[in-house]
């Protein structure tokens, strides 16, 4: 009895590619609440391929699960620096662009990006910047990261509870690269953040949206997509990419090497690039689209909003995260030291 149970369990764990190959199934892995789920149904209706949809909270979390094996995901939507690492570690399958003819609709800004220079493994999905979300009634003339160190705004500042984003702000303020591997620069950034901690109200994640909408703070670090949402709820809010430059991020669709349904996966990515689908997605999620046809179809007040579509000059001011490899531990140590401070 016990024995049979164990065998069954072993079978469950060992199920591989071979058996299910001809079944019309696609396993998709994505950030939480990061697709209009109607789109998944439309794909199934159109192609007869059933989608198993699964979500994760952070790309590190997803990476570890994929890397340690035991998952059967085909398409993953994940962030730039993580794609760089996955290419390096040979976890990704080159895409079959003969199946992704809608790739032509992807705006040229979002092709051949530095994490996938030949654009062999990824197709951009959504993108945005990191900047300062501020309340126009409480502060004006926000243009530099330095304002986040101004004692005048004591207890009115929200930082982001993510290591690379918050340390990145300090690095940019000091004029360094977001991807620095120089321990001296990193410790300078740490000192800045320790100094700043006294005037920071809190280090928050998604909660920053509620806080800023509810006028709980004056200044906050925010992703452009979230800033747009906040602005639509509270028109006193505005957003700026500081002059020192900032981070640009891209989430892209990739196919895993271990995928059992590669042609379906390519079809699905092609489907996501259809202008109509991309339009539905950007309107549901609220983040900026990478699809030039979808952009044209958006209402004027969205596509002319600088938060949604920053100028080329602002775009070129920014940097993309690179995978730091083992060096990321130094960032972690520094972040822990900052938060362990009294």
């Amino acid at each position: 009895m016990k024995f049979r149970f164990l065998i069954l369990l072993a079978v469950f764990i060992l199920i591989g590619c071979s058996k299910n190959n001809d079944e019309k199934i696609l396993n998709v892995y994505n950030y939480g609440d990061y697709v209009d789920e109607k789109i998944l149904k439309m794909f199934t209706n159109e192609t007869g391929i059933k989608i198993n949809y699964d979500t994760f909270a952070t790309s590190e979390d997803a990476y570890t699960k994929i890397k340690n094996g035991g998952t059967n995901y085909d398409v993953v939507i994940i962030s730039d620096y993580m794609i760089e690492r996955m290419i390096k570690e040979n976890l990704l399958e080159p895409l079959d662009f003969s199946l992704i003819e809608n790739y032509q609709f992807i705006h040229s800004r979002f092709k051949n990006l530095s994490f996938d220079p030949e654009n062999k493994f990824s197709v951009s999905y959504m993108w945005g910047s990191v900047g300062i979300l501020y309340n126009k009634t409480m502060v004006d003339n926000v243009h530099s990261w330095k304002i986040l160190w101004d004692e005048k705004y004591k207890n009115q500042i929200f930082m982001y509870d993510s290591q690379r984003d918050s340390i990145g702000v300090a690095l940019k303020k000091l004029g360094y690269s977001l991807n620095t591997r120089d321990i001296k620069e990193l410790y300078e950034a740490k000192n800045e953040l320790v100094k700043q901690k006294k005037i920071v109200q809190a280090y928050v994640g998604d909660a920053v949206k509620d806080k800023m909408i509810g006028n709980e703070g004056t200044l906050a670090i925010s992703y452009s997509g979230d800033a747009l949402f906040c602005q639509s709820e509270n028109s006193d809010l505005d957003y700026v990419i500081p002059i020192e430059g900032s981070n640009l991020w891209f989430d892209c669709a990739v196919i895993l090497k271990t995928s059992c349904h590669k042609s379906f996966a390519n079809l699905f990515i092609n489907f996501l690039c259809q202008p109509q689908i991309a339009l539905m997605n950007t309107q549901y999620i609220g983040y900026s689209t990478v699809n030039s046809e979808a952009l044209k179809k958006l209402p004027d007040e969205i596509k002319n909003n600088k938060i949604y579509w920053p100028s080329d000059e602002e775009f070129s001011r920014c940097e993309i995260f690179h995978d730091l490899g083992e060096f990321i531990r130094q960032y972690d140590i520094i972040w822990t030291e900052i938060l362990a401070e009294d």
Binding site: T64, D332, T336, E337, L339
Partner: protein, 273 residues
């Protein structure tokens, strides 16, 4: 038939308790570089670096304060509720239990709306003409959140044990001339001591490991050991160090439980050891 139940339970324990702990140990004692896994004590050496010890001590400190406050509030409440002449005891007990039907995350979130700058308390203060005060994102707010969430774990065991005390023991003490304080000190409190110990253990354990409360009510400004572990798994994917920290935390809780159980000699259940 009995055997089937026993075996399936053992199997359940192996799959969901023993194997995971072995895995935690495996990760804690290893490190991997370029796909090669090797044995090392480096993770444990790192746990004892100054900054992590600071985080651990802060967690233990806050958890102890929380446990003490829970005891100081919980014991009198449990005592009053156990009184035979107190008619509202079941209502009171019910009121303590109702919030527990709700998800802990929601309950903690509710405190945000109470304590925020534009929250209930500050709005009332502003209405009365006082200036707003900063209530959120301090160590005290973290303790408040912990006490609020874990207080029932203190009250329930004490309440149960006080209710079980044989009333004739108290009458005997009174017959022999003990005043009410002496009766409490010599009869009631010693009889409830085992329950106090399980209460302390049951409050201390979740308090020292919590990461939701410091995240929400501490504004992520004060890292506790639970946050450190979360960070290792979710943010930088360093399972090896995360597991080492988890094992140390388990050791801390284990020793705390042993210390508490020294006093704990009641063998009628409700205890951990």
């Amino acid at each position: 038939m009995k055997k089937v139940f026993l075996y399936s339970y053992i199997l359940w324990m192996i799959i969901f308790i023993v194997i995971p702990i072995i895995l935690v140990g495996y990760f804690a004692f290893t490190q991997s570089e370029n796909g090669v896994v090797f044995f090392t004590l480096e993770n444990f050496r790192r746990v004892f670096e100054f900054v992590y010890i600071k985080v651990l001590l802060r967690s233990i400190n806050l958890a102890l304060i929380c446990t003490l406050i829970c005891f100081l509030i919980g014991y009198p409440v449990a005592y009053i509720m156990a009184d035979k002449n107190f008619h509202f005891s079941s209502t009171l007990l019910f009121l303590f239990l109702v919030p527990m039907w709700m998800n802990m995350l929601l309950r903690t979130y509710a405190w945000l709306t109470i304590l925020e700058k534009n929250g209930i308390i500050n709005s009332c203060l502003a209405l009365l003409g006082f200036s707003k005060i900063n209530l959120l994102y301090t160590n005290q707010t973290i303790v408040l959140g912990m006490v609020y969430n874990f207080l029932p774990f203190m009250i329930l065991p004490i309440h149960t044990s006080l209710k079980k005390i044989n009333y004739s023991a108290i009458e005997a003490a009174q017959d022999l001339g003990a005043d009410s304080f002496t009766t409490f000190r010599k009869i009631i409190f010693p009889l409830s001591l085992p329950a106090v110990c399980s209460g302390i253990t049951m409050v201390f354990m979740p308090a020292v490991t919590t990461f939701i409360v410091p995240n929400l009510l501490g504004g992520g400004k004060f890292m506790l050991i639970g946050n450190l572990i979360e960070q290792q798994f979710l943010r930088i994917a360093d399972w090896h160090f995360g597991c080492a920290v988890s094992l140390i935390l388990m050791a801390v809780i284990f020793f705390a439980a042993i210390i508490f159980s020294f006093v704990d000699t009641d063998d009628e259940g409700g205890n951990l050891f």
